[in-house]
Amino acid sequence: MHSPANNPVYERVRRNPKFQELVRQRSRLALILSAIVLVGYYSFMMVVAFAPDLLHKPISDESSLSVGFPIGAGIIILSWLLTGVYSHFANGRFQDLTDEITRETLQ
């Protein structure tokens, strides 16, 4: 019942250059953002495993807080902000593009 093989509607979408553009741009954004999060997180984990002393350093000479805390909090906050970046583009430009494609296909 699902997956009607090569449905003509989907065929029309595939041939629409806007669809190609949507897929290319949105995939690129998703990949770049995922890479930032994963590379950032796994680099952090490698420091935790292999060079923990780097994170033990105090923020300043008098400080009790180590640099590890702002770095860790930074990872959480940055990851969250990136979900905002994705939503901003995906809900703005990419959604408009999707709506256009849908309109052109179904009219």
Binding site: M1, H2, S3, P4, A5, N6, N7, V9, Y10, V13, R14, F19, L22, V23, R26, A30, L31, L33, S34, V37, L38, Y41, Y42, F44, M45, M46, V48, A49, F50, P52, D53, L55, H56, P58, S63, S64, L65, S66, G68, F69, G72, A73, I75, I76, I77, S79, W80, L82, T83, G84, Y86, S87, A90, N91, Q95, T98, I101, T102, T105, L106
Partner: protein, 560 residues
Amino acid sequence: MTARRILLAAAAATLFATLSAVPALAAGDVGQLEKQPINLSAIGMFIAFVLMTLGITYWAASRTRSTSDFYTAGGGITGFQNGLAIAGDYMSAATLLGLSSLVFAKGYDGFVYTISFFVGWPIILFLLAERLRNLGHFTFADIASYRLDQGKIRTFAAIGSLTVVCFYLIVQMVGAGQLIKLLFGLDYNVAVIVVGVLMVVYVTFGGMIATTWVQIIKAVLLLGGGILLAFLALSRFGFSLEAIAKSAIAAHKDGVKIMGPGTLLADPVSAVSLSLGLLFGTAALPHIMMRFFTVPNAREARKSVFYASGFIGFFFLIVCVLGMAAITIVGTDPQFFEGGKVGGKLIGGGNMPVMHLAKALGGDLFLGFLSAVAFATILAVVSGLALAGASAIAHDLYARVIRKGEATEREEMRVSKIASLVLGVLAVVLGIAFEKQNVAFLVGLTFGVAASVNFPVLILSMYWKGLTTRGALAGGIAGLISAVTLVVLSNAVWVVVLNNPKPIFPYEQPALFSMTLAFLVTIIVSKLDSSASARAERDAFEDQFVRSQTGIGAAAAAKH
């Protein structure tokens, strides 16, 4: 309406069970964790929460007419509401109690754990949320079986979901029982039965609408309670994180070492395996995936992940502050240690620092409030799980596989209600059966199975044209067997449950190995599959791809 009358009767019965248990239980102390004196303010506040949520269930019952209402709240939840509900699903009692106690005990290592719990969220949004929303109707099996063999893959995906749901239900039930003994001073069995009954009531009568609102209310209470507690804690230190750190170093037995990574995650293989399990296991938990179908469109789905990660990230940071503050406030106060010996065993066990902190800063009333919230948290999470399990049984197994799509809406609804009732009974029975067991291994299993069985088929079906039914089945079975075997051979079962001296598998989380194996087997078997059906499945990818990118066809399909 008879449904409403039953609902009221159930409400009355639950409250009666809770109340009548109070005097009867003041007497003895049974079980592992010792029972504390009855805490009336906690019970009072919990009853207030239950009454409010039952009121909502009563309202939701009148709006739950179709299967779409039941499984996905008719897609009528806004992005913001859904964000709160997702955050609620994720902020379980384990995160509040477990993460804060980890920071309390290990300092920075606990913080690293917290970060690992969090980073999965952005990845879910970037790679999964969009396609999940565009392809699925009610369950994860909808997506996995989209272009593959309906009977086989749907059955397999439903069984994968049910396995995860059952393991996680046991964890939550046992947690509820232990927590209640400690916080409310009630008996283990009473707690388990109360949770079971309320869960069945929410799900059967209120479906996804009630389940979502229970989760939203709980999330707001938990965030509010956390913020208030953090405010009180910070005020003790003149609102200076520096002062908290300084005094924690002075109070902790490890001194300045708590300010950086220690021994907990020193082994990189262990750390990576754990983070993979958390990251991809979370993405493939059936009750989390369901949340993407409760919003009206992809736009709201994206918004909801943005809000959810904001709430979760904020809450996790607060939890770390609480853990650090507790090192000084709880860790140096004899009233929180058994026999008054500072540095000895914490009263109520290692998970209690945040509860003691509440008592130290806000007195018995605040402790009562936080206890009620912790119990409400478990209740909300089990409801989500039960709903996910019921939909796997009713929508996937009954309506699609057994009746091959011929079941009427009425019949499917009836089966889903019976299924939630059966799951409720099962949860209570298993919860009681596992009372004396250490269930830590079930957490490893839940995430291990989700990451090794559900996740590979989910991601490959959406991203890889070459996936075939045979490949998905072979890979799923390989993932299931390897995840279960490795957990059995790990410390949590081999040593703790089976009493062997040393674990054969040295890591806590199997995902690095079992998930990799599942992917490999899936890919190899798919590549070797040259059957006619495999060719048709590969050809169908192009159309699926268009729909996953644009959602064209999704709105019509959601109606069935």
